[in-house]
Amino acid sequence: MKTYFFLGKGGVGKTTASAAWSVGLARSGMKTLVASIDPAHNLGDAFAADLGDRITHVADNLDAVEVNIDDMIRAYLDELSVKMKHTYSYMSAMNIDGYFDILKDSPGIEEYATMEAIKKFVALAQYDAVVFDTPPTGMTIRVLAMPRVSLLWTEQLVKMRKRILATRGMVENVQGRLEAQVDGETVVLSSDEKEDPIMQELVAYREELKTLKDMFSSDQSYVSIVTMAEDLALLETKRIIESLGKFRIRVHAIYLNKFFAMANPPDEIKGKMEEQERVVARMKAEIPGIAVKDIPLLRNSPRGIEALFTVYSKYLV
């Protein structure tokens, strides 16, 4: 399966680019899903269709979905809360729901939920390609970096857990099975990795993270930046490429959206057009190996399958 991510600041045209790209893939015969993981959705506006949490068929070979990250966090925490109420009997006496109210606003939870959403969609075997319309740059970089960062922590925790189980094993050899009292209940403390639920969970999560990390840095994953031909955007684009490079994620193309093209420009916008030319020249010189393409400022915002296909065929490929 191929995955496509369109990154950029808010309002640069990520949604149009990702929607147009998905239409192009679908028309080339690939079974495609386009998923908006941006909390401020407008994928439905681009397709001129009502989209929501459920995968909706929008054209031949093309389905679309707008993921509600807040609902996803709530559903996940609800599930976790039920699981914990079973395991932690004493916590039901405490205000466990209050605890989860705090957890839903804890740092990193939105990035975690977004990563889970990506994981869920790339696991859908019925698609040949998944196109992601992403949240603004900063958060997307954190999401793309998350598997690698989480993997580092998980590997360290696995090592620590192994040491604990080995020490338990030493005591067990002399004293027999270890037991502990947890809230009045006797719990057997196993030294076997296969019987330790924390170890099992960490090992399973490590494998999931490895798969995701490898997927993000594989040649089946295409990351493109959507931006504008401005001096500040050039600097930001270079920083994005550098940040992603640290996590071995390669950028394949840069799209300069809302590009002014005019035969006899009035004086008011001459300076802007000179800036554009300057930025394009610098981008090509300073960011070698990445295709730079411009998408002109269109008279009307493209809406609907045909208009999106025109954008794809004229400017994206």
Partner: protein
């Protein structure tokens, strides 16, 4: 006679248990410390320590009841750390 043998057996069993516990007391202390460090690292967010990404914590949280009880026990005994250390080395 039978009673005497039974009580002797019981006596030896408790003696054996005592010896085994004594022999592993330092390793048990090491185990307690390792479990405390694991609990502190994974539940560190509550005490302001750098903690693993939320995703990692959420995955293991349902299985952490023992670690939470270790943390509770540990924090309850914090005002008595000196005597715990002396106890470990059998200093009265």
């Amino acid at each position: 006679m039978g009673r005497l043998l039974d009580s002797l057996k019981r006596g030896f069993r408790s003696f054996d248990k005592g010896m085994r516990e004594d022999a592993t007391s330092l390793i048990r202390k090491q185990l307690d410390e390792e479990e405390s460090v694991f609990a502190l690292l994974t539940m560190g967010a509550f005490s302001g320590l750098p903690s693993p990404p939320t995703g990692v914590l959420l995955r293991i949280l349902p299985h952490m009841s023992r670690e939470i009880s270790v943390m509770n026990k540990r924090s309850a005994g914090l005002d008595d750390v000196f005597s715990q250390t002396l106890g470990t080395f059998d200093i009265d």
